[in-house]
Amino acid sequence: MLDHLGLIPLLPFLGFVLSGAFGKRAGKAFVTIVALSSVGLSAILATVAVFQYNATYPDGKPLIDVVGQWFQSGGIGADIAFRLDHLSIIMLMVVTWVGFLIHLYSVGYMAHEEGYYRYFAYLNLFLAAMLILVLGSSYLFMFVGWEGVGLCSYLLIGFYYEKDTAAAAGKKAFVVNRIGDFGFLIAMFLMFQHIGSVDFTKVTAAAASGGLAPSVATAICLLLFLGACGKSAQIPLYVWLPDAMAGPTPVSALIHAATMVTAGVYMVVRSNALFRLSPTAMAVVAIVGALTALFAATIGVAQNDIKKVLAYSTVSQLGFMFIGAGVGAFTAAIFHVVTHAFFKACLFLGSGSVIHAMSGEQDIRKMGGLHKKIPITYWTFTVATIAIAGFPLFAGFFSKDAILAAAFSTPFNPGVGKLVWLLGTIAALFTSFYMYRMWYVVFHGEFRGSHDQEHHLHESPATMWIPLVILASLSIVGGFLGIPNLWEGRSVNWIERWMEPLFASIQGHGTGLFEVPPFQEITIALVSTAIALVGFVLARKLYLNRGLATDESFEQKTPGLAHTLQNKYYVDEGYDAVVIDPLNRISVFMWRVIDAIIDGLLSLGAYTVAAFGDLMRFFQTGNVRNYALMFFLGVVIFLFVYV
């Protein structure tokens, strides 16, 4: 299996081709079988490959499977090659298995949809692209997957293309991602120029040997981070992600929560050798991450669409991951990617189950008291809520705490680290609060929807609740991958040991791995726990009995703040005014004025020819004797001139 890593992305791609080409005629059963078996098989193959890899390379040396040369031009070139190492293995397992669960869920969720085959074709294509992204052995090959997932994201956000909002949201996601891709591309050009290769191994070696000027490293890192901001929805490019909720809910779970949006974090961790060279870039990553985490969490407090709350929560959690990357806790960042994939996928799928039960209703103000009607969804949602809020022993607690503890004691920019820790902790408070607010409003209190909706309330089918249960279980136990080292001696932190081979030592720098002292670890864990509890207690006090009355009184007492939050700080409006409007004006100017001049010049030529043609037309009288006369005159003139 290790020589055929290409099969792992190839299988979902074949699924895409089959479903896409024949799915419409062959029917839903065919599509279901093709989609599930291709993804399931790919997941099994990936698992087999991981076991074989572990047996072959116990030291964590990367395995490169070269399929062939892609191109070679002058001094630069790239291979089509797959790379298996401890980082790509983590991503591979998350992507294939969570992807499989969400495929399974989609079978139930999309059962009554018109474009069933189209949906699964796109979803398979997405998985193929995502697998290329995580398995590619160079930035360039990774970029193929990077663009591929962007395309699938666009297609799936706009899945309900008859709706204008969905089509516009897809376009927005695509355009905003282009801005990030621009940064990624320039970063690759710089690598070609200064390192001569975009291969992960060579880039890491070049960075580790100290052969890279700090200014160049900073430039490459900041440009890469711009790419990561686009894909992973960080300030200032986060605006597309909340709108992306226009797509089907399982898509939000898979693409816009669990896998694709974490690609930016993966890329930054992949480039850790470069980032460790540049304290400036690290500081930028940490600060942007912290600001995003806090900013999005505050917006999440005032949203009433169940998916919008989760979307802002995703943006906020991605911010946490970048805090981890930015303070040098790359392991913690990846750890949070994994746990977040579990509990956020569970939350999104749970919200899909709620929406399904509510006959398509997404407004939490119309819900309430659902815990008795849909118990499985309720319990899984509860587990995931506790996990994201960071209650001890649940998955989110360990990963978030690892990030915050590292931020507090980081050797990279210690001042920035402390600030980022503070912002992150406040964001964690908001996280706990908005999650429990939603939980109380949706599942507790009185039902507030219409009579029809109440009548239709039902638990989802097994294909939907089985993934929920599995993901909820993972949200409970997922955190034990990274138990912090509180005791001297034997390390119990599996993920930290696992990730160790990835951090090449850099000449003239520390290893980049740093230990958080146990005392500090415990203190920060206690603070985080207290914060999560405060959020819970606040939400319980405000929403358990009073329900929506709290929101209303908040709006009456401080209408300015409430409206600002509800309208997401008017960021979209600001972008409209500053970027989009001027662009539109320039475009209209180009169209109406410049275009008219260019067209006019061309048309002038055309009209001249046409006018001459009109003149010549009068010779065509259609009268035979006229033609004969002209012929005769022509001969006479010819004779006079030439004879």
Partner: protein, 100 residues
């Protein structure tokens, strides 16, 4: 012997009559006859020169011209028959479909 010039002058007169006929007549058949007149005027020129230079080339040319004229007459008459079927007339001024 009659001088060659006389033949040439006669030929020129016949040719001019033919040209005038083509240009002034409306009736298709008359135009056709005028064309034949022009063709035969040219034939006369050929023969006149053949006699003067004692060459067979001019005579052979005449045979070719006559054969081609016969073929042309067959095609032309067929066209006029079709035209008559369509229009009940062979007045060439009436056949002006290609008019601008």
């Amino acid at each position: 012997m009659i001088p060659t010039n006389y033949f040439l002058i006669l030929s020129a007169i016949l040719f001019s009559i033919g040209v005038l006929g083509v240009l002034t007549r409306k009736n298709g058949i008359t135009i056709f006859m005028s064309i034949e007149l022009m063709v035969n005027a040219v034939n006369l020129t050929f023969i006149a020169y053949a006699r003067q230079y004692h060459s067979l080339h001019g005579l052979i040319f005449v045979f070719f011209v006559m054969a081609i004229a016969a073929a042309e007459a067959a095609v032309g008459l067929a066209i006029f028959i079709r035209l008559f079927h369509h229009r009940e007339t062979i007045d060439v001024d009436e056949a002006n479909l290609m008019h601008w």
